[in-house]
């Protein structure tokens, strides 16, 4: 197995162009498990940990990475190799949904290593970062020596562990709108920590547009959006944004049903399809309750 270790993004893209079979590795929290279990034997590894450009985030209001500063801006450009622990520590205000998902990833050691870029590279339907990217309307920045492009998160996932990336492309960043409303992430696992999702759900409220974003994890061949549920919730919230009261239970339940209906779960070692649908309905109902309550009380913005 060849081990390629570029020192810059340019070198990395050249290496990927020259070795399209090379598998990129950042934190290695997913890939090394596969290698250790002999599930994969790539011809080459492309180690991205030496590429400084990938390990930073910034906003369109200025450069980031300084937890004390506030660069402002409407969009965060999150480098592919920023570990979850930094997302939790530095971006909890701007990207609350992603930060909440990051808190549920593995153990502290795994969160120190694992990255959103790696999660996208694996493109597992169970990837914890995916639902909040879908809910927030994120875009994946893919680059090659041919140039770069942005792929909406909703178009990125093509199948179990298959994505829109071309063989010579690398995920270099994710672009996420800075939250303008409450966001939530919930995941079901059979252990109280360090668990792969049986199913997960992320929600983002966008008060400025009246839209509602959703993301479903581990309940289909790819991470999914619950589009009917989004439209239903947006319609129900229309007119409520200005003078928000509690949402009727019927709305919460219908939202849950529509989220469950959008899932395409299977029975597997972690849970049954029936349970996954049931649990998603519960998670959707609860997260919408929490997010809307946070919006009503204004408490969500305090942590921003």
């Amino acid at each position: 197995m060849e081990f390629l270790r570029p020192a810059s993004l340019t070198e990395a893209l050249e290496a990927k162009a020259a070795h399209p079979d090379a598998t990129p590795i950042a934190g290695g929290t997913d890939l090394m498990v596969e290698l250790n279990f002999d599930k994969r034997r790539p011809s080459a590894l492309l180690d991205l940990t030496g590429v400084a450009e990938l390990a930073e985030w910034d906003t369109d209001g200025g450069s980031g990475g300084d937890p004390g500063g506030d660069p402002g801006g409407d969009t965060v450009r999150l480098g592919a190799c920023v570990p979850y622990s930094r997302i939790i520590g530095e971006l909890g205000g701007r990207l609350p949904g992603l930060a909440m998902a990051a808190r549920t990833v593995g153990s502290p050691q795994i969160r120190n290593r694992g990255t959103v870029g790696g999660n996208l590279g694996s493109a597992s339907p169970a990837g914890d970062a995916h639902p909040p990217l879908l809910a927030a309307g994120a875009a994946v920045e893919a680059a090659s020596t041919r140039g770069s492009r942005r792929i909406p998160a909703a178009e990125f996932f093509h199948g179990p562990k298959r994505s829109a990336l071309a063989a010579d492309e690398l995920v270099v960043a994710v672009h996420l709108p800075v939250a303008t409303g409450p966001q939530q992430f919930s995941k079901v696992g059979t252990r109280n920590a360090m668990v792969i999702a049986v199913c997960s759900f992320s929600l983002a409220l966008h008060p400025e547009t009246g839209a509602v974003g959703t993301g479903i994890g581990s309940a289909g061949p790819t991470p999914l959006r619950a589009e009917d549920a989004q439209l239903f919730a947006a319609a129900e919230l229309e007119g409520r944004w200005e003078a928000p009261g509690p949402l009727p239970d019927s709305v919460l339940r219908r939202f849950g049903e529509l989220v469950a209906a959008a899932a395409k779960p299977i029975d597997d070692v972690r849970g049954t399809a029936e349970y996954r649908r049931h649990a998603l309905a519960v998670l959707a109902r609860r997260t919408l309750t929490w997010a809307w309550d946070d919006y009503r009380t204004g408490s969500w913005s305090r942590c921003a």
Binding site: G189, T190, N192, A193, Y275, A279
Partner: protein, 773 residues
């Protein structure tokens, strides 16, 4: 209680103290040398080719391509097994390397030695095996049925134990029945199977390996290598957990064969996935129980049928069946008992020893029944248990009279009377997510959460039963080194993490009044210590070390008596000979000079008897041990997620030789019981394991283990050394049913299967006919 007169030696590092364990800091800092760290100049790496099929006929094995790979030194198959191609703890029914048939997924077919572990693995993959795939027998009920093909020459029944006591056709006014299922739990030790075999010039082999019983390994290895036992010398390597999973051979014979074939040291280290195929698991069970009681809650009878899936090879299935049967009604007085326990061969993964050993499965059955009976009677579940609890002098269903403390009622009262934990959250009810079901995954802020409380009490036999000649050997030496008296203790007892090395030194300090004690490496240069299992090593090897120390002490005191003025009893303390007046009358170092005092003692607990094959009557067990738990759980009833809030335990240990180690055993055993209750299961579909990894075989983390208020009782057993009672297994047994009972109490769901999965909680019909979701 009275303490033996030998215990006048001071020292907090003796019996009753909790001295720092010698391996503790090394393990915490990652510096302890485990068996996977073994290394020798010029060593080769072993790899194993395993069957992908649970049942198949091998029609051809071609090793040419593997042998041709550069770096490969040997590729061996069953043809190359020098001695008997069979091993097994109770029945030699398992091939070292498969011959014509493979009977489980993962069965070893060939082994390779190469100069690099990756080369060895690649070579193993190049071995071509032609299989005729056969239908697997995957259900023990099917295995037992007439007409099912026999997987072994003597059929599919490994053992059937019948317990018959009292009226064969009893009747009672209140009857409850239930069927209960136990999934396959794994020991989930962290140190995978590993060891190194070094060929010796005498034609034998030196093996360094993580195991639980050196001498039973030695016997089996020698038979398969076709060499005299003394040509196989075994030294215990660092053990990364055992829990029963290292009782059977794994890589031992393979490494020795390859070492003797190549003339080079050969090391094996199983990977994590391979480890799931490299050792036996806890027997899954299907159990049918019928309990009859009077209206005021006295048990009249218990009928039980317990089916244990032994998998492809017998391992310790016979003894597990014996335990499940003899302990099958629990720690209760039952005048009429009718128990049938069966162990079957199937094509599922082989099952054998795991902490609790047959008592775990039965306890889930009888404790579930006691709760069901309490509900039928409208009684408090603790009151019902207390009313029927055994005590000293009670007769077990085997006819054996319990002849030492059996404080079952007291243990139950202790856990019941503990203060209840507070509801989670602050004054406004806002809780840290880690305190709620679902934990850090942020699934609830209290919605759907209901609290439940449940109880469990269990019984376990300590040490080997049913007439087994169960002994341990200790060699103790006292000599003067650098002007100081120094004791060395040599046994073959396996330190598997339980703290036996600490305890052996404590015993020597107490008995000989000498502070400096060296525990020599465990190896086969001294006689057998028996297995580090069945909660027996403190009792049996502890007993042997104590006895050897007593022999040494007697000789030292005899020497002292020769040179000192006559009169009075002498003892040893602080490196001195002490007179009955308390006066130091001689210095041990001066007294001995160059003289070395050494004694080797083979020590046995009192004998047990076999069970009568027709009635299961007999004094089969040495000692009974008991623990009780109260579990308090919060359950998210909508998602089926469980958070155990508190797990109180009370256990009688006879005498806490090392109080800190006792508490550690209770905490660890309870954690393993919690795992079986709510998450741990090897899932087997069509004979194949579908979750052989720690990604999907989940064990409890620190966020799953709750605080544990623990009461340790010390009611001495007069038959045991220091009055001790085995500690390791009882807490594993009763934790599980207590937690399940608590989840039932919170949800109303019947929950007859463990581990509980979220879908069971959500979709199981509640017992009053409603629905829990």
């Amino acid at each position: 209680m009275t303490r033996s007169s030998t215990e006048r030696a001071d020292t907090t590092a003796g019996i009753g103290g909790s001295p720092i364990r010698p391996d503790g800091a090394l393990k915490v800092k990652g510096e302890f040398a485990y068996s996977s760290d073994l290394w020798a100049e010029d060593m080769l790496w072993g790899a194993t080719l395993r069957s992908p099929h649970p049942h198949a006929r091998i029609t051809a094995v071609r090793i040419g391509k593997a042998l041709a790979l550069p770096g490969v030194h040997a590729v061996l198959t069953h043809d190359d097994v020098p001695g008997r191609n069979r091993f097994g703890l109770e029945h030699a029914d398992q091939p070292v390397l498969a011959e014509d048939v493979v009977r489980y997924q993962g069965e070893p077919v060939a082994v390779v030695a190469a100069d690099h572990p990756e080369t060895a693995r690649r070579a193993a993959a190049l071995i071509e095996v032609d299989y005729d795939v056969l239908d697997p027998v995957t259900d023990p009920e099917t295995a037992l049925a007439d007409g099912t093909p026999a997987l072994h020459p003597d059929g599919n029944l490994v053992r059937h134990v019948r317990i018959r006591r009292g009226d064969p056709e009893p009747a009672a006014p209140v009857v409850v029945t239930g069927e209960y299922t136990v999934g396959m739990q794994d020991q989930a030790f962290l140190g995978p199977e590993s060891g190194m075999a070094v060929p010796a010039e005498d034609g034998g082999v030196d093996l360094y390996v993580a195991t639980q019983w050196l001498h039973v390994d030695q016997r089996q290895i020698a038979e398969s290598l076709g060499v005299p036992q003394e040509k196989v010398r075994i030294t215990l390597a660092g053990v990364g957990g055992a829990f029963g999973a290292r009782e059977d051979l794994s890589m031992q014979v393979h490494a020795c064969m390859l070492a003797m074939h190549t003339g080079k040291p050969v090391k094996f280290v199983y990977g994590r996935e391979e480890s799931f195929f490299g050792h036996v698991h806890r027997h899954p069970a299907v159990m049918r129980y019928e309990h009859g009681a009077t209206e005021d809650g006295r048990l009249v009878y218990v009928r039980a049928r317990i089916l244990l899936d032994g998998g492809a090879y017998a391992s310790t299935t016979s003894a597990v069946v014996g335990n499940a049967a003899t302990l099958g009604v629990g720690p209760y007085e039952v005048p009429n008992a009718h128990v049938d326990a069966f162990g079957l061969y199937t094509n599922n993964p082989p099952c054998g020893a795991m902490r609790g050993f047959g008592a775990v499965q039965a306890c889930f059955g009888y404790e579930s029944q006691m709760d069901k009976l309490a509900a039928a009677l409208g009684m408090d579940p603790v009151d019902l248990r207390v009313r029927n609890a055994v005590r000293e002098g009670s007769t077990m269903p085997t006819g054996q009279v319990i002849d030492s403390a059996a404080p079952v009622a007291e243990l139950l009262r202790l856990v019941r009377d503990k203060p209840m934990p507070a509801p989670v959250g602050d004054a406004e009810g806002v809780a840290d997510p880690r305190e709620l079901p679902g934990g850090v995954s942020n699934t609830t802020r209290g919605e759907g959460v209901r609290r439940g409380v449940g109880y469990g009490v269990g019984i376990k036999n300590v040490a080997f039963s049913e007439g087994f000649d169960d002994y341990s050997t200790a060699r103790v030496r006292l000599e003067v080194i650098g002007g100081e008296p120094v004791v060395s203790v040599h046994t073959a007892a396996a330190e598997v993490g339980q703290g036996l090395v600490t305890l052996q030194a404590q015993i020597a300090r107490t008995e000989l009044g000498v502070h400096q004690v060296t525990i020599l490496p465990a190896d086969t240069a001294v006689g057998s210590a028996g297995s580090s299992s069945a909660s027996r090593q403190s009792y049996v090897t502890g007993g042997a070390v104590k006895a050897a120390c007593e022999a040494v002490r007697a000789e030292v005191l005899a020497i002292a008596a020769d040179v000192l003025p006559a009169g009075g009893e002498l003892y040893l303390n602080g490196g001195k000979v002490i007179a009955s007046t308390g006066e130091a009358v001689a210095d041990v170092a001066a007294l001995l000079g160059d003289r070395v005092v050494e004694h080797t003692v083979e020590w046995r607990h009192r004998p047990t008897q076999p069970l009568d094959p027709a009635t299961g009557q007999g004094n089969a067990h040495v000692q009974y041990a008991f623990a009780a738990h109260r579990a308090v759980v919060d359950v998210d009833t909508e998602l089926g997620l469980v958070r155990v809030v508190e797990l109180a335990c009370a256990q009688d240990v006879g005498r806490a030789l090392n109080p800190q180690a006792v508490v550690g055993q209770i905490q660890g055993g309870s954690a393993q019981g919690l795992g079986l209750a709510v998450m741990e299961e090897i899932q087997v579909v069509g004979g194949k394991v579908v979750n052989p990894s720690f990604t999907d075989y989940l064990i409890p983390t620190i966020l799953d283990m709750p605080p544990m208020p623990i009461d340790v009782l010390e009611l001495a057993d007069p038959h045991a050394p220091y009055g001790l009672r085995g500690v390791g297994e009882p807490p594993t047994i009763s934790a599980t049913p207590a937690i399940v009972a608590a989840v039932r109490a919170a949800t109303g769901a019947a929950l007859t299967r463990i581990p509980i999965r979220p879908e069971h909680v959500v979709f199981t019909t509640v017992e009053d006919g409603g629905h829990s979701s």
